[in-house]
């Protein structure tokens, strides 16, 4: 499968000269299965540019995209109203995830479209073009074409529910844990379980040791520790702090140069191929 990074930043987009190499768009990762399945992890602002690429590739009437949401914090859903393939009749956009605090996922997504905040057409309206369906689930496994997906609840602060995903296709595997904290050893175990033996672990690294921690997030050291214990092929630091500069990320990655596990940082625009070979 092919993995492409369209948004790597956490919390809020930061377009600036100091963040250009690792990118300033909020979270969005594209996965293409070997049979052409379009699976998208999270819908931050990177989603808009992925949508433009899909349209350029002829993503038109009859195409299907599967958007897996980790949770509904703004930085993971704010790109949805600007996902152009949603406007094309015959397309089918399936959004997967979980509601929270008794509110269903669809209702949560509708809050973003509230008229006082959002002037763009409501994508739940049948007349918008594409068909949109919302699939709610919890700790669950399912397949999209030849892409196998396993979701598992991970800990993201006290109030927020977050799903981590494990994705396998044609012998390649990745785990996606974009927003996670390890306040309790139990939280650690579910992350290790989900990431066990994957080729690529995409992991939250918003915090950094020695800085005032932002609640609900992990450090690069946490990411590497999960990677080590789950025996993954590569740890990719993700969901960068909005103020984290490219140079700082370089130095974080460099600090793991001698580590037995390969550590990299997610850079917007990068593409990775994962396969059994």
């Amino acid at each position: 499968m092919r993995v492409k990074l369209w948004g790597t930043r956490g919390s809020v987009s930061n377009p600036s000269a100091g963040t250009r190499r690792y990118g300033g768009n909020t979270s969005c990762v594209e996965i293409r299965g070997t049979a052409g399945e379009v699976v998208i992890l999270d819908a931050g602002f990177g989603l808009h540019w992925l949508g433009q690429r899909l349209m350029g590739e002829g993503f038109s009437s009859g195409s299907e995209a599967h958007v897996l949401l980790s949770h509904v914090h703004w930085d993971h859903i704010q790109g949805l109203p600007f996902f152009t393939p949603m406007l094309v009749e015959g397309n089918h956009i399936r959004v997967y995830g979980r509601g929270v605090n008794g509110q269903g996922l669809k209702d949560a997504l509708l809050c973003q479209m509230e008229r006082a905040y959002c002037p763009v057409p409501d994508f739940f309206d049948d007349s918008i073009g594409a068909r949109l369906t919302v699939h709610e689930f919890d700790n669950d496994s399912f397949t999209i074409g030849g892409v196998e997906i396993r979701a598992r609840q991970i800990h993201h602060g006290d109030a927020a529910m977050c799903l981590g995903y494990r994705i396998e296709n044609d012998g390649g595997s990745l785990a996606y844990l974009p927003d996670v904290d390890y306040a309790d050893p139990e939280h650690f175990e579910s992350a290790i379980d989900l990431a066990q033996g994957v080729d690529l672990l995409i992991h939250d690294s918003l915090n950094r040791e020695g800085e005032r921690p932002v609640a609900g997030h992990a450090t690069d050291a946490d990411a590497v520790r999960v990677g080590e214990q789950a025996d993954v092929g590569q740890v990719m630091l993700f969901h960068h702090h909005p103020d984290r500069s490219d140079d700082e990320i370089d130095s974080i990655v460099a600090s793991y140069a001698q580590h037995r596990i390969r550590v990299s940082a997610a850079a917007q625009g990068d593409e990775i191929r994962l396969s059994s070979g």
Binding site: S16, F45, C118, Q268
Partner: protein
């Protein structure tokens, strides 16, 4: 459509961010003068719809709307797009204790930076948010709504600064120190206002977001007994009043004529050049650039309208993140 790519670090001076420190912003003085300026305007965010961290927008900038104004020592911020993060870091670094935020309207791209506005973490600071009154939602509700669970982990109640919400009526004039501010309703979906900021004989007009000359009435909650055509006339007059004799007129030029969508509530440079000519404004600044607009497109737009601007006797600029103008 230009596709994102792995970006190379350039020598571009528009460096905003740095790590949790004071932002580095170059001072570009478009109106050099020996006298102490009475008004300084700094563009922190110029992009419309949503922030764009893509190579094609790196030169003009990808942050959503935010202007910082220093009016004879009074700190005024217009709109709270993602650009307000940089403005906030700079205001805290300078130890500014009183900030007035003028909000055009509550669409996401104009408020999404607010939870990350650094002065809100400072107990000693007072932040006053000004906006046109919304008929059904208080300003407090609008801002609390953005910062509520399950969408945000930063509830508004946790703000340490003294935060005040001040709701104005169409046409209100109010003083911020020696600076006079006028708030007028504009034609844009929902409840949107433009502002006129006057200080020491200089005038900044912020007329964004709006469809200046469109035939569709977008503004909501207006007096239903009045004819639509009359309401449109009234909203157009509002824009003229705001822009009258402005030194600097910040415009909503999301569209070019060939892209114009009558249902979106945005304008083209043509209408603003006409307006500037009519109301004797010195210069217009194209603003609220659409997300796909590349830097080269912006340069092309300036070229395209150069002669029309000259014919109107109006200076033409395109707002660019990091540019400071002194009046």
């Amino acid at each position: 459509m230009q596709l994102p790519q792995v970006l190379v670090k350039s020598e571009d001076p528009f460096y905003i961010g740095g790590h949790l420190g004071a932002p580095k912003i170059p001072i570009i003085d478009h109106h050099p003068t020996d006298a102490t300026p009475t008004m300084k305007i700094l563009f922190w965010g110029v992009r419309g719809s949503f922030p764009v961290a893509e190579a094609h927008a790196a030169g003009y900038g990808g942050n959503t709307p935010c202007l910082e104004i220093d009016a004879a020592g009074q700190s005024i911020v217009i709109d709270a797009g993602t650009g307000i993060r940089g403005a906030g870091q700079a205001l805290v670094a300078r130890g500014v204790q009183q900030i007035d935020l003028l909000l055009s309207h509550a669409h996401w791209d104009h408020i999404q930076g607010f939870p990350y506005f650094a002065p809100l973490d400072e107990e000693s600071v007072t932040v006053r948010v000004h906006s046109l009154r919304h008929p059904t939602q208080s300003l407090n509700e609008i801002f609390s709504g953005q910062q509520q669970a399950p969408f945000s982990t930063r509830p508004l109640e946790e703000v340490r600064a003294k935060l005040e919400f001040i709701e104005h009526e169409d046409g209100d004039e109010f003083d911020l120190g020696e600076t006079k501010v006028t708030c007028r309703r504009l034609n844009h979906p929902g409840i949107a206002a433009g502002y006129r900021v006057e200080s020491g004989g200089h005038v900044l007009a912020y007329i964004c977001d709006t469809d200046l000359d469109g035939e569709v009435l977008h503004a909501e909650g207006l007096d239903e007994t009045v004819e639509k055509a009359d309401l449109l006339q009234q909203l157009r007059q509002n824009a003229r009043d705001l822009g009258h004799s402005a030194d600097l007129l910040v415009c909503d030029t999301f569209f070019l004529p060939e892209e114009y969508e009558p249902l979106w509530g945005h304008s083209c440079p043509d209408e603003f050049l006409r307006l500037a000519g009519q109301v004797d404004a010195a210069g217009i600044w194209l603003f609220h650039h659409r997300p796909g607009r590349a830097d080269s497109d912006m340069d092309g737009i300036l070229e395209r309208y150069r002669s029309a601007a000259a014919a109107e006797g109006v200076q033409l600029h395109a707002a660019r993140e990091g540019v400071e103008v002194s009046l």
